[in-house]
Each structure stands twice: as structure tokens, then as C-alpha cells.
């Protein structure tokens, strides 16, 4: 029998994260990041966005490779369906952010995860974007996220993981709180 406590292995380098937290507390300038994307309209409702660089830790940074994302609308919108709809991309972002958070928090709490599956659903009344009813907003009327998690933990510990990941999630914050948006234009 081993008395030594097992260490969870979720592939998250918590020591590095905690180190970063400490370092960035001392150097608030380095904590200021800028996230970027470029996007080009291709045709119809089809656009392609590109992500490769961002700013942080006091300098320009690069992803390991350039990522592209196609967005479009489905055929029932008389479109070609070359990619997910932009609103689905929002759900993708939320799921990615919460998932990363769950893994980090689990690692920090020494909880071994076996599987983490999220199902997301957002309601939307098209009368908003179509301008049929002024009282209906354009965006989601709500988002429901369900997590099915298999882990070496009690149901309460799992619920706490998911709650804590929302508390620390950037995308959750972006969605649940207002953000000031500036859009400018120039003629090419």
C-alpha cells in the first residue's frame, strides 16, 4: 500500500500558472494582453478569420501556427454553409474557456479528470435580427451549458470545479457582462 498521495495528471502545468500569477502580480505591465484576429469576407455570408499573433508579457507573441476559422450560415438561410455560424463560434469560445478552466482548477485541487463533456445550447428569437419586433434582442435570450464529468471527485467537488471555472473565465465574463465595443472604418 502506498501512503503517498497521488498527484492528478490533467496535462495542466499548474506550477507554471501559479508562477505566472505571482510574477504578474509584481509586474502588472506584463499582464496586459491584446488578443487579435483578422477577418476577410469571401462571398455571401462566408468569411474567414485568421489568428496568429497577440501581444503580452511586454512584447509581440506568436501562436505555434496560424489558425483559420470559416464562418457562414446554414442552407435554410439561403447560404452555403461553409462554416459554423458566428453565434455558434461564441458557444465554441465559451466551451473552450470553461473547459480550460475546469482542467486548471481540477489540477490545482488535485482532482484527476477522466472525461469532461459539455453540451451547449443558446436560444435566439430571429425576430430580433430580422427587425420584426423591437422588443426582441438580437443576441441569445439565454445560454444553457451542461457538463458531464467523470473524475475522481464527489458530485459536490465536480459542481465546485465547474462553478469556479465560470468565476475565472474570460469568455463567461465577456458574455455575461457588457463590453465597450469600438468599430471604425477606412476605405481601402
Amino acid at each position: 500500500m502506498t501512503i503517498e498521495a497521488q498527484k492528478a495528471e490533467n496535462g495542466v502545468n499548474v506550477e507554471a500558472l501559479l508562477g505566472a500569477r505571482e510574477a504578474l502580480t509584481e509586474a502588472p505591465e506584463a499582464a496586459r494582453f491584446k488578443w487579435r484576429a483578422t477577418s476577410e469576407w469571401l462571398n455571401g455570408t462566408h468569411s474567414r478569420a485568421t489568428v496568429d499573433g497577440f501581444y503580452g508579457l511586454g512584447g509581440e507573441q506568436k501562436h505555434r501556427q496560424t489558425f483559420t476559422f470559416d464562418t457562414d450560415h446554414p442552407e435554410i438561410f439561403a447560404a452555403e454553409d461553409n462554416g459554423a455560424t458566428p453565434v455558434e463560434m461564441v458557444l465554441v469560445g465559451l466551451a473552450g474557456c470553461l473547459g480550460a478552466g475546469i482542467a486548471s482548477v481540477a489540477q490545482n485541487r488535485n482532482i484527476q479528470l477522466r472525461s469532461v463533456k459539455a453540451t451547449l445550447e443558446a436560444g435566439m428569437d430571429l425576430q430580433g435580427i430580422l427587425g420584426i419586433d423591437d422588443g426582441v434582442r438580437n443576441g441569445f435570450d439565454g445560454i444553457k451549458v451542461h457538463y458531464e464529468i467523470d473524475a475522481e471527485a464527489t458530485p459536490e467537488e465536480i459542481a465546485a470545479l465547474v462553478a469556479q471555472s465560470q468565476k475565472r473565465s474570460a469568455v463567461f465574463d465577456i458574455i455575461t457582462n457588457p463590453t465597450d465595443v469600438t468599430v471604425s472604418t477606412s476605405k481601402a
Partner: protein
Amino acid sequence: MTTRAKRRLAGIVDVIVIGAGHSGLAMSYALSQRSIDHVVLERGEVANSWRTERWDSLSLLTPNWMSRLPGYRYQGGDPDGYMGVREVVDFVSGYAVATSAPVISQTTVVQVTPAGNGYRVSTERGDWHCRALVLATGAFNVPVVPRLAEGVPAGVTQLTAMDYRNPGQLDEAGVLVVGASATGLQLAQEIRHSGRPVTLAVGEHVRMPRVYRGRDVQWWMLASGVLDQRIEETDDPDRARRVPSPQLVGSPERSTLDLNSLRGQGVEIVGRLAGVRDGKAQFSGSLRNVCALADLKMNRLLALFDEWAAVNGYDSEVASAERYAATDVGAAPRLGLEFGREIKTVLWATGFRPDYTWLEAPVFDRRGNLRHDRGVVDAPGLYVLGLPYLRRRKSSFIHGAEDDVRELSVHLADYLDRTARPQLAAVAV
């Protein structure tokens, strides 16, 4: 320079304690026990904060039996009750009398500067010099109001929990209470009972039942050691010090005050006030999560109590374990409200912070917080008392002063000994 040079010196003492609330008085008692020469400077009268800064109906959220200070304790006939403001004033004033505290009242400290081997403490009635200085000026001097208050339309009255006295002050129309600590919930309830429509904006909060398994929840927290937890044992001291006060009220019925009970009384619950735009208040969509977090934390606390009771043989003395309904925020909490039409008053119950603007010494960090190690400030002979989780979870409560003052007065006495007449010490060796 010249104005200061001309000011008369009011006195020279070994120690000055600024503030005659319970913290300063407790330190004064500890210093007197050691025959250390000191005075307590107080801008108003003893217990000034309780006399001048609290709302009319406030009762302590700690039961009477818990109210104790070094050498002094509650003697009344209702140990399980909760003192009203008047009784707290009497309790703290009684302590000053019982301990013959050398309080100099009506003396506001306007400036403190390091001088010689100590501090010059300037008051409106002359300057003092001391070798060691204790800041007991309170942790809750100025209300914290978020920046977005600036965007609230002019026609809406804004006040803080420090200005609030009773519902009679308010317009008859809708009131938005911002903040879900003990203060926010108590005021939301009282204003709702006055007939006004009340909306409560809820961020992170601490939920607990008033009575658990037949005992006051404060009894559980004290007995199980929760209130004695030390700051150095916490994972994140900064966070621990920022935790809002628990949702509790001290009432004769000992009833629980939480978001469910408030909703039952007709208070509308919404998310954290996240923005003010175009005359509208915007509330965060995080309400369900902050409630889930609070419910989970409460259940962990109750589980800890249960475990403690089982291990320590209390199971037969207390009622059986129970759990409470999860917080119900309704089907669709509102995300916005219109100022003016729906809301005529905003009451900020968004916390308080200490005021050290008169302290001119390099003892503040980047964020303007006092740099100290559990009350020992980062400057020779300087101490602070009464801040949340200063040394222990109970540090900012009346019953928390005793342990902190005992330890810090030892440090202070040692400091005075170490710095006293070094030439004599050298001869003695």
C-alpha cells in the same frame, strides 16, 4: 515648516493609540496592564463609529455572549440576543470606563509623520510625539462605490450604507440596493418592509443559516475553529481579506436572511451591477453562478460543522444535520432596469475601506493598501488593528480583538524595550 514649528507640543508619550473604538480600547488595556505610558486620541467620543456611522435599526450579527473584550464581557440577561447600536455604544463606552482608558476625545489626528525615533502625531489641538503608534482608526471609514456610479442619471438619488439611516429618507419609488453582504441584505429587507419596491444586485456573497442544528451559526464557527483560522494558513490571504460579510441579521426571531427569504418577501434579485448605459442599469448574467458558488461554500461549511460535531461528541447535544434549498433566482432574472422610471434611488452597499490619508509614511503598496505583516506595519514601531483577517478570521469582530491585541502588544512592548536607551543596555551587558 514654520507653521508646524510654531505648533505647541501637546505631549510626549511612549505610545499613541489613534481611535477609541473597541480595538483601540483593547490595546489601551493591554498597554496599561504592562504599565506602558500611552494616550488614546479620538476624533469624536468613545465608540464614535457606532454613534455616528450606522443605520438606526442595525443589530450586531454576533450574539451577545460572544461580545467580549480583554478583561470585559457581556453581563446582560440575554446572552443569545443581538445588541442594537445603542447597546453597542454602551458596551464599548462601559469598557472605556471599566479600564480607565486614557482617552483624549474630540481630538482629530490630521497628520502623522515619522520624526526622530518615533512619530509626530498632529491633531487639531496640538502635536504629540510618541515612540510607537497604533492605528485603531477602523477598517470601515469610507464607503467604496464603484466607478460606474458616475454614469447613474442625475435625477436618481444615490446614497451609501454610511449615509443611510432609515427608509423614511428615501423616495417612495423603486430602490436599487447594490451589494449582497450582510449590509445589503439587511437594508433591502428593511426598505422592502417599508413598502418600497426593491431590487437587489447580487455579486459574490457568503450565505449561511442564522441557526444550524439548534445553535447560532456563530457558535459553530467559533467552536469548530473557523473563526480562529489564521491568515498565514489561508491559500490566498488577499482574497481572504476581501471576503464580504456573511448574509446574517441579528433579530429576536433569529431568522435566516438569504436571497430565498428576500425573494419571498418580494425583493427582486438580479445579477451584479455590471454597467450603466443610456439611463439603464445592466446586470451581470453571472447571478446563477455566484449563487451556486455561495450554496456550495455554505454546504462545505455545514459539512465541516457536522464533521467537527461527530468527532468531538456533540452529535447528541445538537439537533440533527440539515441542508437548505438551493438559491432560487427565478426563471429569468432581469438583465436591465430603467433608472428614473423603475429606480429612483440607488443604495450602495458595496463595502468600506480604511482611510489613512493623514498618514505620511512610506508604508503603502502600489494599490494604496497599508503594508503590514499581521498588524506589524512595515515601519518601526507602527501597528494596525481591526482590519478584516488581520491575523485571524475574527480579527475585525469585537471578540476578535483580544487575541490580536495580546500578540501585538507583546511585539510592541518588545519594540519599546529594544529601542529604549541603547546606551544603558550596552552598559548592562
